[in-house]
Symmetry: none
Subunit: 288 residues, 2 copies
DNA sequence: TATGGATTGGAATTATTATTTCATATTCCC
DNA sequence: GGGAATATGAAATAATAATTCCAATCCATA
């Protein structure tokens, strides 16, 4: 009475991720040889995309007919339509990292419309991330996190272009329930705010060339009070570097006169969440 | 005497880059139809990798036999072996990009130290950028820029996690000498600020789930005043979307509970600089 | 351990696809 | 402008690959 078959309303997977999920889901209930080809398909998706039914079957150690049964069991009408999904997957994943960046840059430079601008910013952000993940020094990261984790209050100091990073740090520290103070210029009370900082506190200062004079001045003042500073800046000649206990050099790529913030943001978040984690560890040790 | 043919020592390109160079090199000396398919091949390498001789030929506007002649002229013995090169390219480039991100994610998940946290944020940012550059709709971008370029004042509305983006937009608009107003909560005068906005202005509103109620309320008020809104949000169900004239869906990857901002930042910068450019064009037309 | 149903292997068949061929058109050189 | 060499189009042919079919095997159940 019950008539199974392709006319049933079982949805046939159109994209690779759905297909993968479907296969994983049914894994247990599949016959031995079908399961064998299913495993092969998930392990060697490229082979499915490029091979012929015969070659794939041979590699997986089954008969071509089994491969077709596998496809049909998933709701496709044959191997060919199953293969389409595997090919689509390769198509959609765009070029290798380098090719991708090259393509973006080319589009950004050659292209006419506003899409080119967008591509330019994406390329700049990618380049910056690439760069920082290669150059970041693990030891500096550890040092900075230790230093900040010990602070009673973390002051965050940044102006102009770096200010968005500062606000994100303040937001994240707040969510992690870490006492912090964003030094903003709005009310003109910076000097007073800074005066409260003691050597038991710490500062995250962010400034890039051309360095906002106010940031540098405030960093000087605060370091003279004996408050340790973690600096994020763009060169070892940066005036910030000389006041800092630990400092990071972050090279952000720019486009259309605006530098990316992606690398700085990633570092800022790592510092923030790192401090949060360290604090939890310290709390546990003290109690335990 | 001179015996041309496949036995000559002309090297047949085995990898895509060599092939590309070879084609570019001979471009001038190729017959019309062969040149036509050569151009098509370099412009649509994916089609060559997956299509059939007939389908490719049709897309390129030539006969299948021409496609084969093209392959032979490059030293291959037929279309099939030429196609191999295009397939190999897809295979290789894919693994490199995937492996890259997977490696980062693996390090982030497996790694012990704080470096793992950092890698996690870099991976999240990369993924987000990757994603947005695939999904961003060019037409929406154009619409949004046109709309904003016409505005007398651009209001920027964002709270909490989105606030850093808003501050960067405000900074960039300021540098481009475009009149703008950041709607901040500090002084509690938001309602008064918003009341100044007219239909001749425009708003960039940014909010992600969980949507800050204040942002939604302010967006509603301002849209009821007839001020057009460009929204950046994370889902078509977002309450922001319903008030917006144009809206962008940006899916940011997250790590350790904090979402990346890299994709949103890239989009924000593209909008800002796009508006700056459009304004300059408009000014030139009016004068000329 | 017999029996029915599901699963599998392998060859036969059908379909699709690459390649070849040949007539026609175009180009280039004398 | 004429003729040879080259290039192109279109259909015929050859090759390759997908699919189907049926007999053999396996497995669970009575």
């Amino acid at each position: 009475m019950s008539l199974d078959g392709p006319t049933m309303d079982e949805r046939i997977p159109r994209d690779f991720e759905t297909l993968r999920a479907t296969i994983l889901d049914r894994r247990e209930s599949l016959p031995k040889r079908i399961a064998q080809i299913a495993a092969y398909a998930l392990d060697n998706p490229d082979d499915i995309a490029f091979g012929t039914a015969a070659s794939i079957a041979a590699s997986a150690g089954v008969q071509p007919s089994t491969l077709i049964r596998f496809a049909q069991q998933l709701g496709f009408d044959g191997f060919t339509s199953l293969q389409q999904v595997f090919r689509e997957r390769l198509r959609e994943r765009n070029s290798s990292y380098d090719e991708r960046l090259q393509a973006l840059r080319a589009k950004a430079e050659g292209g006419a419309g506003h899409r080119a601008i967008f591509d330019g910013f994406v390329a700049a952000a990618s380049t910056s991330l690439d760069d920082i993940s290669r150059t970041l020094d693990d030891a500096h990261l550890e040092d900075a996190i230790s230093l900040l984790a010990k602070a009673q209050t973390i002051y965050v100091l940044a102006k102009r272009r770096s200010y968005p990073v500062a606000t994100y740090i303040a937001y994240a520290l707040g969510k992690l329930k870490i006492r912090n103070q964003l030094i903003e210029s709005a009310a003109g009370l910076n000097a007073e705010m800074i005066a409260f900082a003691t050597p038991a506190d710490a500062v995250i200062a962010i400034s890039f060339s051309p360095y906002a004079p106010a940031t540098i001045e405030e960093a000087r003042t605060i370091s003279e009070q004996g408050v340790p500073i973690v600096a994020i800046t763009d060169s070892s000649f940066s005036p910030l570097a000389q006041f800092a206990r630990v400092w990071f050099e972050v090279a952000e790529a720019d486009f259309a006169g605006f530098r990316s913030l992606s690398a700085t943001m990633a570092l800022a978040m790592a510092l923030t969440v790192g401090v949060g984690e360290k604090r939890r560890d310290m709390g546990r040790k003290r109690k335990g």
